[in-house]
Assembly symmetry: C2
Homo-oligomer: 82 residues x 2
Amino acid sequence: MSAVPRQHKVDSPEELGRRIRAARKAQGLTQVDLAEIAGVGPRFLSELERGKDTVRLGLTIRIARLVGIDLFAIPRGSETRL
Amino acid sequence: MSAVPRQHKVDSPEELGRRIRAARKAQGLTQVDLAEIAGVGPRFLSELERGKDTVRLGLTIRIARLVGIDLFAIPRGSETRL
DNA sequence: CCTTAATATTACCGATCAGGAATATTGGGA
DNA sequence: TCCCAATATTCCTGATCGGTAATATTAAGG
C-alpha cells in the first residue's frame, strides 16, 4: 500500500479556485457555510472558486487552509533527489 | 550527494513575500528590474515582498513564477507514503 | 565615514474590490 | 421532469488597490 502525495501545481487563480472548491465539497461544506466560518461574503467565495484573479492573497490563503489545503513554494530546479 | 527538496509551507503573505524576495535576489534582479519585466509598478513589488495581505492573487502568482517559484496545493492529510 | 544604489514611503487618482441584499440561474435528487 | 438547495449575478457603496512620481530611508561597499 502506498499513497502518492496529491501535489497540484498552481499556476493560476483558476487552478487554485478549482482545488478550493473540490476541497470544500470534500468537507461537505456549502459556500454559505464556509463563508460564515471564514467571515467572508458568499460572493467572494463564488468568485474565488471561479478563478477571479484579483482576489486578495490573504483571504485566499485563509480559505485554502480552512478547507484543508496547504500551499507550498518550491523553487524551480530544486529537484527532489535523495 | 543528495538534494533535499526545498519545500516551504506558505501560510501567510509574509512568508510568500520573503520567499519571493530571496528568489529575486538569487536571480540578481532588483525590484525595479523585475517590475519592468513583470509589467507592474515597483510599489507593488515592494509591498508584495513585505507581505501585504491584500495584494492581488493573479499578480502574485505571476511574480512568483518569474522568479522561479512554483506554487503547489497539497491537501492536508495526504501524507507522502511510498 | 560617505556615497550611491536599492528599497520604502507618501500623495494623488482612476479603477475595482468585497460586503450586503435581492434576484436569477443551475444542478442534482427523488 | 420537478423542485429546491446551491451557486451565480447584479446593484449599491465605502474602502482600498496599484500606477506614477517624488521624496525619504536603508544598506553595503570603498
